[in-house]
């Protein structure tokens, strides 16, 4: 099983470990609900070094990237990042990625861990002459620090200057070595940063950030009564956080048989671009309209919807018939909303907010309503006021 440089730190903290795509990663340290609460209220620290770091550089690097992703990265300036997708000729999603333009001709591409080899091969095969594609993952790590107190924690622990950084900005993180960057990106819906850096610096940064628990940023009290500054957060809460934020998970909510339009990620697709792999298929699908679309749904109560549960629609009570209209791809109990939430593909006409659906859980159907995602959105209000159900 693969291990990140932070593996010994996870064991020291008593993490419950799990096999994630061949990586021995922390599922949680104390509790998924507590770690979720820490990110929404203060700050949480994640080891996401299992994700791939790909380096694309050269005089034609921008053109190479632009021909392989759905977004127009010519619009992405130096020091900026963009969430986008690699698609195949059929418009199917090969991976959802973030491209960071760290230099005029230098791009750091962060890919999902299960797609690392596939993406590297794809980028290498389709690159233009004058573009170099290289796996930058060896000996390197990625830390994410997420939550309203992230900037404060990073500035204090690592002496980083983050003032003036906007969402999706990326800058060199000089105190953390050469080829180290900090970006205001994340996968939680809360404010936060991601650090791309060499292993040795990552371990030191992790330890310093964790030490802040002894000198908490703010005297908040968690479920167990201990002061919580920067709390280590595992993949369990990473999943509940991204779901509340309406963010898709590759391999679960979308795959090569799904297009960005079906995944309701049309906003990432620049159909006006001269050309990109998959453009013709997406132009055709855009004109014809999609037959199914990813929709988010909420339940007022009841059991938790899970991947694979059938979605039903129809009004048998009104004399109509009900029928299966789709399937749940992700579901969880939302700690902030205090109710079950999920997403799944349904017939396109039923993806409209307000549509009544039913979710089949253990052979019983439970009412659900289609809602606009994200389920939860950060506001500028006091984060300590976030109500967390069951995390008193």
């Amino acid at each position: 099983m693969n291990r990140t440089a932070l593996h010994p730190e996870h064991l020291k903290l008593g993490a419950k470990m799990t096999d994630f795509n061949g990586w021995d990663m922390p599922l949680y340290y104390t509790s998924i609900l507590e770690e979720h609460a820490a990110v929404r209220r203060t700050a949480g620290l994640f080891d996401i070094s299992h994700m791939g770091q790909v380096w694309v550089s050269g005089a034609s690097a921008m053109q190479s990237v632009n021909e392989l992703v759905v977004s127009d990265v010519a619009q992405v300036g130096e020091g900026r990042a963009c969430y986008t997708m690699l698609t195949n000729e059929r418009g199917g999603i090969l991976d959802d990625i973030i491209v960071y333009r760290v230099g005029a001709q230098e791009w750091l591409v962060i890919v999902n861990c299960a797609n690392r080899a596939k993406d590297l091969e794809w980028l290498t095969r389709h690159r233009r002459p004058g573009t170099e594609v290289r796996d930058l993952s060896q000996g390197r790590a990625i830390l994410a620090i997420q939550g309203p107190k992230s900037a404060e924690a990073l500035e204090r622990a690592l002496e980083l200057k983050l003032s003036g950084m906007g969402r999706f900005d990326v800058i060199p993180a000089a105190p953390l070595g050469r080829q180290a960057w900090v970006a205001r990106t994340g996968y939680t819906g809360s404010d936060g940063f991601e650090l791309f850096l060499p292993d040795a610096q990552a371990v030191r940064a992790w330890q310093r950030l964790i030490e802040q628990r002894q000198a908490p940023l703010e005297r908040t009290t968690s479920l167990t009564g201990q002061a919580s500054g920067v709390m280590p957060v595992g993949l369990g809460a990473r999943d509940t956080l991204r779901l509340e934020a309406g963010l898709r998970l590759y391999g679960t909510d979308m795959d090569e048989a799904t297009t960005p339009l079906e995944a309701d990620l049309g906003w990432t697709v620049a159909l006006h671009k001269a050309s990109f792999l998959g453009k013709e298929a997406l132009v055709r699908q855009h004109a014809a309209g999609v037959s199914r679309r990813l929709a988010g749904f909420e339940m007022s109560q009841g059991p938790v919807p899970r991947h694979g549960c059938a979605l039903w629609a129809g009004t048998p009570a009104a004399g109509g018939t009900s029928r299966q209209v789709g399937q749940v791809t992700s579901g969880t109990f939302s700690p902030v909303l205090g109710k079950p939430i999920g997403m799944g593909y349904v017939e396109a006409a039923l993806a409209k907010p307000g549509t009544a659906l039913e979710v089949d859980i253990r052979l019983k159907r439970h009412p659900a309503t289609v809602v606009k995602m994200p389920f939860w959105r950060k506001t500028n209000g006091d984060p300590s006021g976030v109500t967390l159900h069951q995390v008193a």
């Binding site: 993490a15 509790s31 609900l33 009841g302 938790v304 899970r306 109990f333 253990r362 069951q390």
Partner: protein, 133 residues
Amino acid sequence: MEIPQALRYTKSHEWAKQDGGEIVVGITAHAQEELRDVVYVELPPVGKAVTQGEPAAVVESVKAAFDIYAPVSGTVTKVNEAIPKSPQLVNQDCYGQGWFFVLKPGQPAEWNALMTADAYATLIQTHSSGSGT
């Protein structure tokens, strides 16, 4: 790990307690520890006939759903209405306020087949030494 001496146990981590001819059922400290974040509980209807070793209730953590098995056969006479409303009681007080349901046993002999506290302690020791951390 708390394993009260007065209770009997199953391999699937339920506890059972004799209470005036009836049997109270819940899940053990080990089980709630493994589940960690209980967010939903589904209880059987009162009056339902259950069979030893068959699913009688469902408990869901953030990550997954798990069946709770009847430790003995019988009829459900009472359920803990508090835990569907406050599932965290299962984590906070699994041998007390976090009980699941009460059974009127159909076959009293089944009680004797349940594990003692010592036998259950040995069982979970074997489990945890195998799984590591």
